[in-house]
């Protein structure tokens, strides 16, 4: 009984710390104690995996390397133009008094743990890099999730597929964009609720973040509509969304500060 009581007390500590965007000292201590083993084993397994992947796919990787070098050479020609245009956009946004939503500082973070059942990932950056609760984590394909707890050297991100995650989203294809509230249903589906029964979204529409928040900028891709249904008796409609990001394929994400 004493152990059960201790478990409940520890759980309360953990929940309170998470509610404040932090990590309880017990969690932090245990993670720090385990991190040397985690780091060594991760490097070891990563090295072995890279070696075998390289050995098996060597010819394919050589071709890919050549192709990427060519693409890089082509892209570098446009880099100056892109920088000039970005400066112009930033200047115009400042002149128009708009928030500088896209000019955010980016922090690259490695995924050091993935817990699919809990819809969480652990990243190797924390308060030491200026990470705060609520910052969005993104990758090239779109939104990964939102920082929920921050430690000194690590943080945890709640994935968009979590049922505990609620997020404002829009279908930007329409004018005005169809806006709704999005939350996770399971690891491969999200649900978006609209407060109107006659929203025009259809299968294949892209869903992005709404930007109705100070921390998550507008326009980050979340996923595509799988199906949509009108619920006139409830005065609403609902769409099922296939997430753009497959977290299992990622090893690095970017946090927008």
């Amino acid at each position: 009984m004493a152990l059960v009581a201790a478990a409940i007390i520890l759980s309360i500590f953990q929940k309170n710390a998470r509610g404040n965007g932090g990590i309880s000292f017990i969690d932090q201590g245990i993670r720090l104690a385990c991190s040397p083993i985690a780091s060594v084993s991760s490097n070891l397994v990563g090295g072995v995996q890279t070696f075998f992947t390289g050995a098996i796919h060597s010819s394919h990787l050589q071709d890919e390397n050549l192709r990427l070098k060519r693409e890089l050479a082509n892209l570098s020609m446009y880099a100056d133009t892109e920088k000039r245009l970005q400066r112009e956009v930033d200047t115009l946004r400042v002149e128009m008094g708009l928030d500088k939503t896209y000019g955010r500082e980016k922090v690259v973070a490695n995924i050091s743990g993935y817990f699919p059942q809990q819809n969480r990932i652990t990243l190797d950056v924390g308060r030491n890099k200026g990470i705060k609760e609520g910052m969005p984590a993104v990758c090239a394909h779109g939104l990964v999730g939102k920082v929920q707890t921050v430690g000194v050297n690590d943080c945890q991100v709640l994935l968009v597929t979590s049922a505990a995650m609620q997020l404002g989203a829009i279908a930007p294809k329409y004018n005005p964009p169809a806006a709704g509230l999005l939350y996770g249903e399971n690891s491969s589906t999200l649900v978006m609720k609209f407060l109107s029964p006659d929203v025009p979204v259809t299968s294949g529409d892209i869903i992005t973040t709404s930007g109705f928040s100070t921390q998550i900028p507008r326009g980050i891709v979340i996923g595509r509509v799988l199906s949509a249904e009108s619920l006139p008796e409830l005065g609403s409609s609902r769409a099922r969304i296939f997430p753009a990001v497959n977290v299992g394929d990622l090893s690095v994400v970017v946090i927008l500060k």
Binding site: Q14, R18, D27, A33, T122, N186
Partner: protein, 162 residues
């Protein structure tokens, strides 16, 4: 059985298992399910000790796992205590202790505790979680077969005849 040796080895192994769970479990996932090193260790150590010590080992295992994952702390602690306690109880009830028993008991405990965890943590996607639990159970059973004999030697506990 040398109790202080058993406790010392248990603490070291739980620390190592925590590191492995934090560092490589997600890199070694099969069909989306990860091995659960801490759980396997809790079951195996439970097989090698009495119920009272097993409950403490389960508590420590759940504490480490809950801290690493960062959520559902009491659910992890209760299910790991349950698993370790069941293992110890089975051995005290004159079940033979060997690597075959270790595999079967680890598989069964992973399933039981996985389902208990789903209920306690109110997981929304029961189907997906159940599938992952079944794959993890098989994965854990294979790990239990491989780890049982080295663990028995490390803790100095003698196996019973098949």
């Amino acid at each position: 059985m040398n109790n202080s040796r058993f406790i010392f080895v248990s603490v070291i192994l739980l620390w190592v298992a925590g590191g492995l769970q934090q560092g490589i479990a997600f890199k070694l996932s099969v069909f989306g399910a990860q091995p659960d090193y801490i759980f396997v260790l809790a079951c195996l150590l439970g097989l090698l000790t009495d119920v009272r010590t097993a409950l403490f080992i389960g508590f420590a295992a759940g504490l480490i796992e809950g801290a690493i994952i960062g959520t559902d702390m009491w659910q992890f602690i209760l299910t790991r205590m349950l698993a370790s306690g069941i293992c110890a109880f089975l051995v005290e009830s004159r079940f033979q202790r060997n690597y075959g028993t270790a595999a079967v008991v680890t598989l069964a405990c992973t399933l039981i505790c996985g389902i208990a965890f789903m209920i306690l943590a109110l997981q929304p996607n029961i189907g997906g979680a159940l599938k992952a639990t079944i794959i993890t159970a098989v994965y854990n059973a294979v790990l239990a077969i491989m780890a049982y004999v080295p663990l028995e030697r490390a803790t100095g506990v003698r196996s019973q005849q098949l």
